[in-house]
């Protein structure tokens, strides 16, 4: 299907199925039940799953295929966000042109950063990308946030290009030459896809369950599916093969008449464009862009997502992104009260002890859990969640094969 081989078609269909049914799959617990807090099927979080999925898919094209570890990919996320915001402010609230500008601008930015950073490899490349990202952060935070209108004017550039610490926001005074300045309610207008508002949603009640279908989620999910499809094509293309060859042995590649530089730059730019797309989508879901989106922790997060899910695998980065965002939003909500409720059946002393032991790993301490998980994955499962899944499958299959074999033995024995 779509020019994919069988195995990849199956994977793609599974991913389509999962993303389309996500509002059901992520809401397995009935509303009002004690477990409902583990439901992840609300639009805001589902959008984050797919948007960070795109970010990680793109990062994996660079890191997974070529082995070059960029530590500054959040810069492109930020550029994408600011680009989309300016599109909203200047032209109109349709998300398509906004996303196009996000992708183009972050791509151009990636040409510049990539061209310079790729003069070095290994740790020096990582440091260079980190330096560029932190410079971008500083630019967004202060340099580009100075008043560019002049002291007595309150215009568009009152807070510069980026809005500084508070970020870039929509205002009813924005020109928006191709659309309404304000929404129907007089407030700032809402991003839309040819009229379909991103924040619109319908709810469906089935018994005690409530499922929410949000336009924003489905739009983001479609974009992610396209991004995922393109990534499969890249992985299976001659270009993808060259990138893996670069990771494997650059010396041999040189002496095989191939020039690694343009291949690397192309990979870097494609990967930067994915990040820009993700940044643009964030703004399309929630029109506000701040400099913290470019901070080094954001660059580090996508590295964690990719490694946790499985570097160099097709689906791994999406899984990693989902897991981290789930932990960030769900695990962090559990507090000691909830823990006490769970362990109320224990004798008092024991209950307190258990709660005290678990407490550091939940709520704000979710980072601790993430850190431990990350260590465990790097040490025991270098292939990430994907390798974990493969091992489980192999074990199950192995047991099945064994069962069959003992069945066969059992069949033979009576005949003796």
């Amino acid at each position: 299907m779509l020019g994919l081989e069988k195995k990849d078609t199956r994977l793609f269909l599974i991913v389509i199925g999962l993303t389309m049914l996500a509002p059901f799959l992520l809401n397995p617990f009935p509303e009002g039940s004690e477990m409902a807090q583990f439901n992840a099927g609300y639009p805001d979080l589902m959008q984050r799953f797919v948007i960070f999925g795109i970010f990680a898919i793109g990062f994996n094209i660079l890191f997974g295929l070529t082995g070059y570890l960029s530590f500054g990919h959040a810069a492109f996320l930020g550029v994408g966000s600011y680009a989309a915001m300016w599109m909203f402010k200047l032209f109109g609230m349709n998300v398509v042109p906004a996303l196009l500008l996000s992708v183009v601008l972050s791509g151009l930015f990636a040409v510049l950063i990539g061209y310079i950073s790729l003069r070095r490899s290994g740790i020096y490349f990582s440091i260079l990308t980190l330096a560029f990202a932190m410079m971008s952060y500083a630019l967004a935070y202060s340099v580009l946030a100075t008043d560019m209108d002049g002291p007595d004017k309150q215009g568009l550039m009152q807070k510069g290009l980026t809005g500084g610490e508070t970020g870039l926001q929509l205002s009813v005074q924005d020109p928006r030459i191709l659309g309404a300045k304000a929404g129907a309610d007089g407030n700032t207008p809402v991003p839309n896809f040819f009229g379909i508002e991103m924040r619109s949603a319908t709810e469906m009640n089935v018994g005690d369950w409530v499922f929410t279908f949000s336009a924003g989620y489905y739009f983001s999910a479609f974009v992610m599916l396209i991004a995922f499809y393109i990534s499969i094509r890249i992985f299976r293309s001659p270009f993808g093969m060259m990138l893996r060859a670069i990771k494997s042995n650059q010396q041999r590649l040189n002496y095989t008449g191939l020039n690694p530089k343009p291949y690397m730059l192309a990979a870097f730019v494609v990967s930067g464009m994915y990040a820009g797309l993700a940044g643009g989508l964030m703004v399309a879901m929630d029109p506000l862009a701040g400099p913290e989106r470019m901070f080094w922790t954001a660059s580090g997060e996508v590295v964690l997502m990719t490694i946790l899910g499985g570097v160099g695998t097709l689906i791994g980065p999406v899984l990693g992104a989902g897991l981290i965002k789930y932990m960030e939003n769900i695990l962090s909500k559990i507090n000691s009260e909830i823990l006490h409720q769970w362990f109320a059946w224990m004798p008092d002393g024991l209950e307190d002890l258990v709660v005290t032991l678990i407490y550091p790993f939940i709520g704000k301490g979710w980072h601790l859990t993430l850190g431990l998980m990350f260590m465990a994955v790097v040490i025991f499962l270098p292939g990430g969640l994907v390798e974990g899944g493969q091992r489980i499958m192999a074990a199950l299959r192995g047991r099945k094969a064994k069962d069959k074999k003992s069945d066969a033995d059992a069949d033979v024995k009576p005949a003796e």
Binding site: S237, P238, S248, R252
Partner: protein, 251 residues
């Protein structure tokens, strides 16, 4: 005039004059061996031919064109392929993929952006890679991880990868170093067969006299960065200076 003309090449590393006044002419369609004791500058000379090092003085002409100042991939595209002392292959890729990469390089040049077409639809490249692997008796191993192959097979694969580019000059740096006798003999046979089948010039650096005298039509002896003599194998064997400088210690 030879296909490769090295004139007055000198190369200094800090205080060490690794090469001085090297003149070498390799005639087209011959096997030319460069021998010499350890540290004589053989690898350094080879590195000057493929763009890994730039000599301080002198000129290197391949087929009438200077290679100096060009990067390794450009020199390779001119028609010079190189086999390394320890096999350099794409260890993380399959044997078939290893074979396909030089076929792509031959077909598309040093850079071609094809990020959307599937590798499995590149039938001409697949066909060529398959033929090369069959020629080298590696076809049964096509799906193997290249890293998992034996040293001898890695060497075969590396040579096959170089040949897939249809080079006019094949450079080999001690291709049998560290090999068992059987593997060494296989490599000799392989190189003989290659020479018989194609129009190719081979320049080989070798330590093993058995290999040199089985293959070479012409031999240059390098000592302390300078060519001592250049002659036919028969004359080299009997040359007193050579026996003294080199053969005496290892033959």
């Amino acid at each position: 005039m030879g296909i490769l003309e090295v004139k007055n090449v000198g190369k200094r590393f800090g205080g060490l004059q690794a090469l001085s006044d090297v003149n070498l002419s390799v005639a087209e369609n011959t096997v030319h061996a460069i021998i010499g004791p350890n540290g004589a500058g053989k690898s350094t000379l080879l590195n000057c031919l493929v763009g890994k090092l730039i000599p301080d003085t002198g000129s290197v002409m391949f087929d009438g064109q200077s290679v100096l100042g060009r990067s390794p991939h450009e020199i390779n595209q001119m028609g010079i392929s190189r086999v390394f002392q320890t096999p350099e292959i794409f260890a993380d890729l399959s044997v078939m993929e290893n074979m396909m990469i030089p076929c792509f390089a031959k077909r598309d040049g040093s850079f071609e952006m094809n990020g959307f077409g599937a590798v499995r639809h590149q039938l001409d490249v697949i066909e060529k890679a398959k033929t090369m692997l069959e020629d080298m008796n590696l076809y049964e191993k096509r799906d193997m991880h290249a890293a998992a192959m034996s040293r001898g097979d890695k060497r075969r694969l590396e040579i096959a990868m170089c040949l897939a580019q249809e080079p006019r000059l094949l450079l080999l740096d001690e291709p049998t170093a560290g090999m068992a006798r059987a593997d060494t003999n296989n490599t000799i046979d392989l190189l003989k067969e290659i020479k018989e089948k194609r129009d190719i010039t081979i320049a080989i650096i070798e330590h093993d006299m058995h290999v040199v005298f089985s293959l070479a039509e012409r031999i240059t002896v390098l000592a302390q960065g300078t060519p001592l003599v250049e002659d036919s194998p028969e004359n080299i064997k009997g040359h007193p200076k050579v026996r003294e400088a080199y053969l005496g210690e290892s033959a």
